[in-house]
Symmetry: C2
Subunit: 202 residues, 2 copies
């Protein structure tokens, strides 16, 4: 790597980290190109030599969030062996904890929408898809007779249902749900869903 | 009612309807006071004689959306008698259909956040709480031994889980889920949840 390329890579990392701090502090509206340029010490327009546009910048921050989420779910899996249903509950509760501890960064994963006409790039989609593996693997053990496509649909449904509970639970729009109550509700509902799915196959 | 009050009430209704059309067409960013004032034929500042602020305006539109959602769920209930589990499935599928058919108005119910320091008014909260009755009633039949508070928690969890499935399913960020597939997944998952909850009480 030439020195110029090296310098650019460092500045780009600094930009992504600055955007991450801005989101943590003020959510998506905190991502302002002028302030970020100032923070990393470059000219206003120069950040567009580092990322294509603000959409890419937000997606790069998202990529880091997803990597940390992946690590958190992997750590939960490694707490020890468990029946597939219990493993799914453990992963759901770990997801709930991660969301509570990384509230703004996690929200941005779902709130961010691309500018009209822009597509989400492949790399960002594959980052997201990899996380489904945590749900897919226990389901594949539970339902050995189902096709990968069917298990994929169920994994998506389980994820969406848990995500809904966590999102509305942490939103605290209507009634603040204390985190302990939310964790236990998530565990109860995931267990019920998985038991109900297993019973209906019999 | 004096003529002046009558005129104000009419203009206020026109404003709320104009905001509703703006949201249907362009989502929350479509709510711009200047354009709305122009559309209903009043001076820019005059709309603040009709509503306190744009937050109130968006909540008034939300109130109309919730009333239509209530009507849609009531219609689903009246399709005929059903076991409580089947009734919960029917209501969840009706919710899914309503969201798909009223996408922007339904999104705003969840995306809108009050300006910092402003509280959601009581009337808006009670509009929202009433809808939980549709889930609460079948659950109360299923779980006669549970307290109203416990059933309320389960109603909230079921709602959040279904909402998550519908929200991510209609978002089409990753994979477009055809509406028919989404309806059937919602039905499968709600049945599984309710069966699992019923089995765990036994």
């Amino acid at each position: 790597m030439t020195k110029a390329l090296e310098r650019r890579a460092k500045l780009r990392d600094a930009l992504i980290e600055a955007a991450e701090r801005a989101i943590t502090a003020r959510g998506l509206p905190g991502v302002r190109s002028r302030e970020l340029a100032q923070e990393i010490g470059c000219a206003n327009g120069a950040i567009y030599n580092l990322v294509e546009n603000l959409d890419e910048l937000v997606l790069r921050v998202g990529s880091r969030t997803l990597a940390r989420l992946d690590a958190a779910l992997t750590a939960a899996e490694r707490e020890g062996p468990a029946e597939p249903a219990d493993m799914l509950v453990r992963i759901a509760v770990a997801y709930c904890d991660f969301a509570a501890q990384n509230l703004e960064l996690w929200r941005v994963l779902f709130e961010h929408r691309m500018e009209p006409g822009r597509e989400i790039p492949e790399w960002a989609i594959s980052d997201q898809m990899e996380l489904f593996g945590h749900i897919y693997r226990p389901l594949a053990v539970l339902f050995p007779d189902r096709s990968p496509a069917q298990i994929g649909v169920t994994a998506r449904s389980l994820f969406s249902a848990v995500h809904g509970m966590v999102a509305l639970g942490l939103e605290q729009k209507l009634i603040a749900v204390p985190i302990e109550a939310l964790r236990s509700e998530v565990a109860i509902i995931v267990h019920a869903m998985v038991d109900g799915l297993a019973a209906s196959k019999a």
